[in-house]
């Protein structure tokens, strides 16, 4: 970690903060609030959880982030692409005054983008088949 001097923030500097009557009143209020929890040992799990979080952060390194982010990007990009297609397709179909005839639909197959989409869908099914096969 890089050392960097922290500029002092007014009102929060060191032990002087405890001399402040408002701060003292706040601490007393907090102590009264947590006293029953302290007496009943209700903080054990919270402290353990904090420790676990701290362990997690200490253990996380560049490689872990790389893997987590690859998973994030994969899921985000797939969801985004499918969501985009659903939104735009819904809007285009919804805006058409009449549904296309079967003949018009067949003519759509001439559009290279439609064929690319079909190809992707068929390939998707093939790969799904591969992954669910024996």
């Amino acid at each position: 970690m890089t050392e960097m001097s922290t500029p002092a923030t007014p009102g929060s500097a060191g032990p002087a903060a405890f001399q402040d009557p408002d701060t003292q009143a706040g601490i007393e209020h907090l102590a009264a609030k947590v006293a029953p929890l302290l007496q009943a040992n209700r903080f054990d799990n919270v402290v353990d959880l904090l420790s676990l979080v701290a362990d997690g952060i200490d253990m996380t390194d560049e490689r872990t982030i790389e893997k987590l982010m690859a998973a994030f990007e994969g899921a985000m990009a797939a969801g985004w692409t499918l969501g985009n297609a659903a939104r735009m397709a819904g809007s285009v179909a919804g805006n058409a005054a009449e549904p296309p005839s079967l003949f018009q639909l067949a003519r759509e197959l001439r559009d290279p983008e439609v064929r690319r989409g079909l190809h992707a869908a068929v390939t998707f099914l093939r790969i799904l088949g591969r992954q669910t096969g024996p």
Partner: protein
């Protein structure tokens, strides 16, 4: 006839803005009343900050680029064609292929170009990390150097109060360099000298472009044995003798000259005649609040190509984009722009190879430096490795 919005430049500013325009104007876009077209000169989108990591051999080319089409909403018509000429008076652009695109609203986000050739000898003898190929060359040198002197220089545009690209990058890379050489076990035999020019935007004789950060830097550098020098404005370089000369009259030798080179706007912006910036730098005169191009209410300028005093950074585009989107949407819907940019920039600075420091500032308030942390470092790495692609899609 449909209102045509044209976005030029498929970098971070243009991409997030085109996506957000479709989202904001969805009723008009889906009914065909508004079209959004993007022109960019590259089919790929580069995560530019990663060039900095390329210099330390920690990012490869395929990891830092994605197909531009995959980052755009399908409602956007994307054309790979370079704008050769902006005709702001006639509301149209001409592309390299000869096509003409008219527009009702234009967003210019064409970035800037590192131009080491603007300082004598720098292109031949200097290194930088602001483009992929130069960053690779620097990486090879940093991976091999065993002893000697790495001299760091920062060049600001000559246009008053306009910063160089990504203000914090020279500090980030200096700290990364120190740790990189320590890991290699050669730091003891290599002297690192960080320098800063006499004039850095509104400051004089500092080590950074904002005063508070400038004041904490000496103690950081001293703790790492990094030497630093104020008042070194790189004037020319002698590639044979490996000496850097400053405009202030100093001369310093080096084994590696790691520079932040001069920058300028892209050719089409330079040649548009819209800029009065000195030194043929080409920054577009931009309204600091509405982000409109001076004299052209239907043209919006974002990111590195503008002349605003804020950092030329992705974190700037991130805060300018909603303003541009709101202003175009309100102009279309109610006839005038309603949003104002407050100069906000957000970023997570990479402080050494592991630690990070989230930072933010605006026209009124400077960055308040605070201690870099490992959590900040993990956040930065998450941006590098994935979150950026959600930002480009306009999702974050």
């Amino acid at each position: 006839m449909a209102k045509r919005i044209l976005v030029v430049g498929g970098g971070i500013g243009g991409t997030m803005t085109a996506n957000s325009l479709v989202h904001k104007l969805y009723p008009e876009v889906s009914s065909g009343e508004v079209t959004v077209t993007m022109l960019s000169d590259s089919p790929d989108h580069y995560y530019k900050p990663a060039f900095m990591y390329v210099a330390f051999n920690s990012f490869s080319k395929n990891e830092l680029k994605r197909p531009q089409r995959s980052l755009l909403r399908p409602e956007i018509q994307f054309v790979v064609d370079k704008v050769a000429h902006f005709d702001f008076a006639q509301n149209r652009v001409r592309t390299q292929s000869g096509a003409i695109y008219g527009y009702d609203y234009l967003v210019v986000s064409t970035g800037c170009v590192p131009s080491p050739e603007r300082i004598e000898g720098l292109k031949e003898a200097g290194d930088h990390f602001y483009l992929h190929e130069p960053a690779r060359q620097l990486a090879d040198r940093l991976a091999r150097i065993e002893k000697g002197r790495i001299f760091i220089t920062v060049t600001f545009p000559k246009t008053p109060n306009v910063p160089h690209q990504c203000g914090i990058a020279p500090i980030e890379t200096t700290l990364m360099l120190d740790e990189f050489l320590r890991r290699r076990g050669v730091r003891e035999k290599i002297e690192i000298v960080y320098t800063y020019p006499t004039v850095s935007q509104l400051l004089r004789n500092c080590l950074f472009l904002q005063k508070q950060t400038c004041e904490v830097l000496p103690s950081i550098f001293e703790s790492k044995g990094i030497r630093f020098k104020r008042g070194f404005t790189l004037g020319r370089v002698d590639p044979d003798r490996k000496i850097a000369y400053s405009e202030e009259g100093d001369e310093q030798d080096f084994d590696i000259l790691m520079s932040t080179p001069p920058i300028r706007a892209v050719d089409a912006v330079l040649d548009s005649g819209a800029s009065q910036a000195p030194n043929d730098e080409g920054w577009l005169p931009t309204d600091r609040e509405t982000l409109q191009l001076a004299g052209h209410e239907n043209v919006y300028v974002m990111g590195d190509t503008g002349d605003l005093p804020v950092s030329k950074a992705g974190g700037t585009c991130h805060n300018q984009s909603p303003v541009v989107v709101d202003n175009i949407a309100s102009s279309l819907r109610i006839g005038y722009p309603t949003a104002a940019y407050d100069g906000k920039v957000i970023a997570v600075a990479q402080m050494g190879l592991e630690a990070g420091m989230p930072l933010w500032y605006d026209y009124e308030n400077d960055v308040e430096p605070h201690p870099p942390t490992k959590l900040g470092g993990l956040l930065r790495k998450s941006v590098n490795r994935g979150l950026y692609w959600a930002v480009a899609r306009g999702l974050v």
